[in-house]
Symmetry: C2
Subunit: 330 residues, 2 copies
Amino acid sequence: MSLNIKDIAKLAGVSPATVSRVINNSGNVNEENKERVLKVLEETGYKPNALARGLIHKKTNTLGIVVPDISNINFSEFVKGIENQARSYDYNIILTTSENNFNKEVECFEMFKEKRVDGIIFSGTRFTEKHKSELDNSTIPFLVFGQNFEHEKIISININNQKAAYDATKLLFSKGAKNIAMIGGPLWDRAAGYDRFMGFLSASVERGLKPNELIYEEGDFTIKSGYNLMKAILNKKKIDAILAANDFMALGAIKCLADLGYSVPNEVQVMGFDDNIIAEIYNPSLTTVKINFYEAGKIAAKAIIDKINKLKVDKYIELKYELVIRKSTI
Amino acid sequence: MSLNIKDIAKLAGVSPATVSRVINNSGNVNEENKERVLKVLEETGYKPNALARGLIHKKTNTLGIVVPDISNINFSEFVKGIENQARSYDYNIILTTSENNFNKEVECFEMFKEKRVDGIIFSGTRFTEKHKSELDNSTIPFLVFGQNFEHEKIISININNQKAAYDATKLLFSKGAKNIAMIGGPLWDRAAGYDRFMGFLSASVERGLKPNELIYEEGDFTIKSGYNLMKAILNKKKIDAILAANDFMALGAIKCLADLGYSVPNEVQVMGFDDNIIAEIYNPSLTTVKINFYEAGKIAAKAIIDKINKLKVDKYIELKYELVIRKSTI
DNA sequence: TGAATTTAAGAAAAGCTTTTCGTGAGGTAG
DNA sequence: CTACCTCACGAAAAGCTTTTCTTAAATTCA
């Protein structure tokens, strides 16, 4: 059906070696023959078989990507960044989603091994020793996003979530808040759960609060959990500000406050995390910690490709964040 | 570095052929040898090289996907559906983004050819004869999403946008609207631009309006264009309802109306398209035409895989849609 | 027991490209 | 004119797995 290099060679009246030399521009081919081969290539639309090439070069120009959920805007921005950057280096991506399910994650690793990807970018709520051990006899360059995983052979890239949450909490205090509650993520989520909580904790303690006085509810990053936990908090305590561990929960909280007749930001200020596309257009627009996931994807792709090319790459890369002040705070 | 089947064979004291038979469970191997091979496989974590396999079988179990922008929630849901379905059939996806740029789209096709994907799912604002001709000497099964492209060898899957827009317009009329304006997409976008406009047109004409009386502004699907066009419309005409060609523009319109002191839905009703995740949580929540992109992705993946497996597949698949009535209409 | 099957397993080819190696032609220099 | 070099190009091996073909051994049946 589809042509191979021998067919092209025959059509051009040369050997496969010569065709290969023309395709790869590796010289040592007579101008006249080159013309003839190029003409045949043009006419036939022949494309060299990347499988055969990969077999020889032990290189596929492919990255394996694992994200928990591509329909989450954070991850889709991240993947977009990866894809754009990768393409500029002539790499492609195999995309997989894991729903944070350990078995699926491991399946992806196995598949990546079989398909001989040149590098792997992993993102998930946690990357553990258990994950690591699945990779032990593999030499594929590996990068973890969203977590600081200490290991000689693994690149990790992350924002300093603790510091970001600390800054966010301080911002609320500086805007006059006295009783801040946090609607956080699950604490086993090292980055967006645990670290952000720790930032909230340290800013609160610095303010003179005792750890056991803190108001903290553990959500699952959905709008609904933000809504429900907001309700729960209002039933228990009098508060004047909310720090949510992501924008969805913050939006859920705002919606709840609106439904119950509280004014945002006058009675309760609300702050989110991530700077989701919705944050800007919601009414009121949401003050939040902006994380540039697209940029993160570009950085991640660049780092892993550099690693593939044996360039020097930092083991840990810290991403920037930024407080974006909008109408949900005073 | 990494082991190959010969190494495994040596370690197990058998020939590569026998190892292959064990791996593929193709029988004719003595129980004792099988055990030994399995043990070696287990111990070494050996994974057969998918490139070599692909070379022999002329099959990669990989689909090539083109979408304009993965960070657009519609497409990320679509891709999620594809990925999940594909995985259940033991396929993986190479994801590319095109920004609706013809040259990039063609580059993707070329790359897919080189990488020998088994099938291609294409989504973009338009798939034209020019695209088609790029594929002419290719035998890779091909599917177009979001457009009805008549061609023997191409599967197209789409919603009936014209009918959906017709239904949406009729809904607004039924809720008492007299002067409906449309904020549409570019007309060269066959599906979300042209077809949705035609639906609006036919419902309006059916209502007794003359085509030249219609109020129609052409946006680019962004929030900002919705906002600006809303403003433009208000400056020209008195209207009591808006049909937008997507939710983003509808939201932009609502924001504009709010800023200018109009009450939605009492003074102006607004209706969107797609049922973006934001539609439900916005304030007021948005009445819209729900399209299940996730489901569409699953259907598309199933169709292309069936085609790859030489099963009978409809040339045209029409997707369902649904009117979701919320607070932006009466 | 002898003939006919069945089972097990290895050797080798095929799938496609790149790269090394070798060879012949043509050119340069001494 | 001879020795050496360069250039152009083809043959063949390598990269890894599967599958066909053979063959040898074991089993079955009469």
